[in-house]
């Protein structure tokens, strides 16, 4: 019996869950295929969601109508707002999640979703006819038909685990890799690269001496990620901080020859921002000690995650390393750390919609696009899901701009630069960082979520009211004079707050009291007005380039003086706009100028032609 769906999502990790939910919630029949129902939404590495720039992504997912924020809140066992010593644009919410609860909640959401079917099976082949996707084959079914297929295989694509000098094919430890899928992608013409990541050990809680460590408590005032959740249902628990010792260093240096990284066995490139402990020791020889965080994997497990000690050294060496860490002298290891290499699709092959250039209807999201992190994956899954629906419906694609969202920055980065290491979001990647605060995600993005039917009308009108209140109140402060100045100017000063303006009766209370969020928005807008305005005007300046589209028919060969390197990069990457072309490494401003002049000339000669036609 042959079945037909609008969308098939391969893989039920963080990208796959969001993609499937977006497809189904937008009303299209969606099939989610996973190799194992019990590992849906598994957090393969650390038990935490959010953090620097990643917290922003989670908030943006929420504002677009995704699910990650809500499930995070429902499984949160420790909330902290990081980076509060710095400006509000880089504050970063982060939670420790109970991994099992996260999975259970997400699975239940999927199970209860209309238009969504979940199937435990393994995809063995992707079916394409005339460069258009037609469906997939699985172990149990020869052909399942679909108009769009979203591939989200995580590290499973030809996964190869390394522990010491031993290596074996695996998707995650103890799970099968997905080799057929990798072959199938190559067969349909996609080019693959290789990346590396890893995960540290898990240690039995009762074997840890916490008295030798510092407690790292939750914040007193927890904020939820999702607008839909007001309070965390689970109890909040602490983490612990300890550190490596001189002995750790000795052990690692003595055993480097057993490290697959240093022995040259791993060819994939690992992330520089998440170095293994052997990397840290070798690259920072002056540091005698490195920080280690001990984090609970959940409320109902004794497994503790050892954050900061990633390694792919052999088990016996690992054992020695852990025992050299303060407080872990008698630690019992429950799972050993390992490194994993996997295939990814080089991102010059994907469009800003995450659809591949070569095969219509084939979308990729998550680690297959060279990213790392649950949040990065979920954001891409959501974008791929929305865009698959829009394409099936024949509507305009949904592309977020760099000044609108971290998601926009990430996707644009991916399509203009092939990741050389697993791509992780950082605030410094966002040139309009001051505009993209985690607390204003709804003001930035709810309009889109609402347009796609993923954010309900009530929420959306609330957001609109918020925007309106803030605007009106800033205008009022501007026109309220006080002595020789205005309330707005007073509020710019460091020692003034909105509340103080009210207390000192410089302004009258508004008819309807403003919410804390609205007041926060007003204060930020006014206190940092100079910087914020400047970024807005930079956005305006760039808009010209971002909207200046390059026709796909443009032949870079015909542009006089374009350097060969630039021409090759441009031909490979096919930027849709001048703005994108500007961000391709190896394309310099002089090249951009030549392209603009060339396009301008083409335009003029076209105009002249049409004019001379008219004259004839």
């Amino acid at each position: 019996m042959s079945q037909t769906y609008d969308i098939i999502v391969i893989g039920a990790g963080h990208a796959g869950c969001e993609a499937a939910l977006a497809g189904a919630r937008m009303g299209l029949s969606t099939l989610l295929i996973t190799m194992n129902l019990d590992t849906i939404a598994q957090m393969s590495c650390n038990p935490a969601i959010g953090g620097l720039a990643k917290g922003h992504l989670v908030k943006e997912i929420d504002a677009l109508g995704g699910e990650m924020a809500r499930v995070t809140d429902l499984s949160a066992i420790q909330f902290r707002l990081l980076n509060t010593k710095k400006g509000p644009a880089v504050w970063a919410p982060r939670v420790q999640s109970d991994k099992k609860i996260y999975q259970q909640v997400m699975k239940q959401v999927l199970e209860r979703q209309d238009h969504l079917t979940i199937l435990q099976d393994t995809v063995t082949d992707i079916h394409v006819e005339n460069n258009i996707i037609t469906g997939v084959a699985t172990i149990y079914q020869q052909h399942i038909e679909a108009k769009a297929v979203i591939v989200t295989p995580g590290t499973f694509l030809n996964g190869l685990i390394h522990i010491g000098l031993t290596s074996f094919p695996s998707g995650r430890f103890g799970e099968f890799p997905s080799t057929h899928l990798s072959d199938s992608l190559q067969k349909i013409g996609l080019r693959l690269g290789r990346l590396k990541t890893g995960t540290p050990a898990r240690i039995l809680r009762s074997s840890i001496d916490f008295s030798k460590m510092d407690e790292y408590p939750p914040d007193d005032h927890a904020q939820t990620f999702s607008r839909k959740i007001k309070e965390y249902p689970l109890p909040q628990v602490p983490c612990y901080i300890t550190h490596t010792t001189e002995k750790t260093k000795e052990i690692i240096l003595a055993n480097l020859k057993y490290s697959p990284l240093y022995a040259g066995k791993i060819t994939g490139i690992g992330p520089r921002y998440c170095p293994s402990i052997e990397d840290k020791i070798v690259k920072f020889p002056d540091k005698t000690s490195h920080q280690v965080f001990i984090e609970p994997e959940g409320l109902s497990t004794e497994e503790m995650y050892i954050n900061g000690v990633s390694t792919s050294l052999p088990q016996d060496v690992q054992e020695q390393i852990y025992h050299s860490i303060t407080g872990l002298e008698n630690a019992t290891v429950m799972r050993y750390a390992y490194g994993i290499e996997y295939d990814f699709v080089t991102t010059d092959q994907i469009q800003p919609t995450l659809e591949t250039y070569s095969i219509s209807g084939l979308y990729l999201a998550g680690q297959i696009n060279g990213t790392s992190g649950y949040e990065e994956a979920a954001a891409q899954g959501l974008m791929a899901g929305i865009n698959a629906v829009l394409k099936i419906r024949g509507e305009d694609p949904f592309i977020l701009q760099r000044h609108e969202a971290y998601i926009g920055v990430m996707v644009d980065d991916l399509i203009t630069k092939i990741p050389e290491e697993p791509y992780r979001m950082f605030t410094s990647r966002a040139e309009y960082r001051l505009l993209l605060r985690q607390d204003n995600a709804y003001q930035r993005l709810a309009q889109y979520g609402n347009r796609f039917g993923l954010i309900d009308e009530d929420t959306y009108s609330e957001v609109q009211r918020h925007i309106e209140h803030v605007k009106l109140e800033i205008e009022r402060l501007n026109s309220t004079s006080y002595q020789d100045t205005t309330a707005e100017v007073l509020l710019r000063r460091q020692d003034w707050t909105y509340q103080r303006l009210l207390d000192e009766k410089i302004i009258a209370p508004t008819e309807e009291a403003l919410s804390d969020e609205e007041i926060f928005d007003i204060e930020v807008e006014i206190k940092y007005a100079g910087y914020i305005q400047r970024q807005r005007s930079q956005v305006e300046k760039m808009r010209k380039y971002e909207t200046w589209s390059i026709p796909p028919s443009l032949s870079y060969d015909t542009i006089t003086g374009l350097r060969r390197e630039a021409r090759e990069k441009l031909e490979a990457r096919q930027p849709a706009t001048i703005g994108q072309a500007m961000r391709i490494p190896g394309v310099n401003p002089a090249d951009i100028q030549l392209i603009m002049i060339h396009m301008e000339r083409l335009n003029r000669s076209k105009n002249q032609d049409s004019e001379s036609n008219r004259n004839q």
């Binding site: 620097l52 990081l82 710095k86 644009a89 410094s428 006089t560 401003p589 002089a590």
Partner: protein
């Protein structure tokens, strides 16, 4: 390499002993091979030895001889433009050279756009933007000193220093960014704010020293402006005529003869010096004189040097002394004119004895050599500092340097005001962009066009 091959006359318009034209591009050698018939049968243009002079002839398509020439071939990347190049030296007749250019075009070359050779050199990474600009300056130079400063820029020293500063800034920015994105790591900045502000201040100091060379270089590039000022009938116009050894200004015994500013340029010590003869200073009579005196004041304001002329025969010169003392913030030479009318050297009641004084007779042309000497000393002191620095920046560089400095100033202010990394990082990035613009690594769309449109064909 650029796909098409360009050709243009490189020597100046007009007639000379030798004329030169250049071919550059992937096909330069092939085109030259079709155009040139080498004297020696054993030589072919396409594989002759680079950078060696050969003899040859150029024939019209109908076989008629156009000219006997010499030529030099250069091979990629060892040429001015960084691509295949041929230089042809013909006899120096414009029509002849144009015929040879036409021959090259017949064989597939295209006439070069203004500045295109230098532009290619820049695009092929042979020179940076500051060097490309100095090529235009070098060609446009009208006095020896202008050539010297253009040549210094061509050496690329300035570009190197700007690049160093920009790299220093990028290092600072990346540390600031790291402290934002990795707050859990050791805090890069919190305890080290003074290190950061010191580093920023050091970059500002380097920028300031580069900017100082702008004013000096500007004097050399634009010429030094000398205003001849004084009361009516002090002999300013006679002095002007004496300096130029011609009747530039009208001279009469009538007070207030000179109404408008009269301008003339001579080259002194390799520097262009532009003299302004001005209307005499007194309570104006009539609208015309009033306007004339206004122009005098304006000229004095913008002058680099003032020659203040006093009539030695006058008894009371207290007005003049007052005037001189009010002008002492800029280089000034006091000139006692009409020395032929007095017997003893005049006593100078000026408090500041560093002001040079000359006694002359403009009419009888005595003391003019001493005045020249005094003027040359003053000019030398004005341009001396530009010899000390390795380069002098132009207006575009100065604008970018000032922008960069302003952005760094704002960054320091933000740090002092207690603003955090995410804010002052923006100022630092602005400064970085401003510096990068100078060397052309980041460039707003029109900078390049603006720069290259200043070239004339064939450079």
């Amino acid at each position: 390499m650029w796909e098409d091959t360009i050709v243009a006359r490189a020597s100046a318009e007009g007639t000379g002993a030798v004329g030169m034209l250049r071919l550059s591009g992937s096909n330069a050698l092939n085109i030259a091979g079709k155009v040139i018939t080498p004297r020696s049968k054993s030589i072919s243009v396409t594989d002759c030895k680079p950078r060696q002079v050969y003899l040859g002839s150029i024939f019209a398509p109908d076989g008629e001889l156009i000219d006997e020439i010499t030529f030099v071939c250069y091979k990629i990347p060892h040429s001015y433009t960084g691509e295949h190049m041929v230089e042809i030296f013909s006899h120096g007749n414009t029509i002849l050279i144009d015929l040879i250019v036409q021959r090259c075009i017949q064989e597939g070359a295209r006439l070069a756009l203004p500045g295109e050779f230098t532009r290619r050199s820049f695009m092929n990474g042979k020179i940076d933007l500051t060097q490309a600009e100095s090529v235009a300056d070098l060609i446009g130079a009208q006095a020896e000193e202008e050539i010297k400063i253009a040549a210094k820029m061509l050496s690329g020293e300035f570009g190197k220093r700007v690049k160093q500063l920009r790299d220093d800034l990028i290092a600072i920015i990346s540390r600031v960014e790291a402290s934002i994105d990795f707050p859990e790591e050791d805090d890069v900045l919190n305890d080290k704010t003074t290190v950061l502000t010191d580093q920023i201040t050091a970059i500002r100091e380097s920028i300031a020293s580069m900017l100082a060379s702008y004013d000096e270089g500007k004097r050399i590039r634009d010429g030094i402006k000398v205003t001849i000022a004084g009361q009516t009938n002090a002999g300013k116009s006679s002095l002007m005529n004496a300096l130029f050894e011609e009747e530039k200004s009208i001279v009469t015994p009538i007070h207030g003869t000179t109404r408008d500013v009269i301008e003339g340029t001579i080259i002194l010590n390799g520097v262009r010096v532009i003299f302004h003869d001005t209307a005499g200073l007194r309570t104006p009579r009539g609208v015309v004189e009033k306007e004339g005196i206004r122009r005098t004041e304006k000229s004095m304001e913008s002058a680099d040097i003032i020659l203040y002329v006093i009539d030695s025969s006058r008894k009371n010169i207290s007005d003049d002394i007052k005037r001189i003392e009010s002008l002492c913030d800029k280089p000034l030479i006091t000139i006692f004119n009409k020395s032929d009318l007095i017997e003893t050297k005049p006593q100078i009641p000026i408090s500041d004895n560093s002001i040079p004084v000359c006694t002359i007779s403009a009419l009888q042309k005595t003391g003019i050599a001493e005045l020249h000497a005094a003027l040359c000393d003053t000019i030398a002191s004005l341009v001396r500092s530009s010899h000390r620095s390795a380069f002098t920046v132009n207006r575009r560089h100065a604008t970018c340097l000032k922008q960069g400095d302003e952005a760094l100033h704002e960054a320091l202010r933000a740090i002092n005001d207690g603003l955090t990394e995410d804010f002052f990082a923006e100022n630092l990035k602005d400064a970085q962009r401003a510096l990068a613009q100078i060397i052309g690594e980041i460039s707003p769309d029109d900078v390049l066009d603006q720069i290259f449109s200043h070239f004339c064909i064939g450079k």
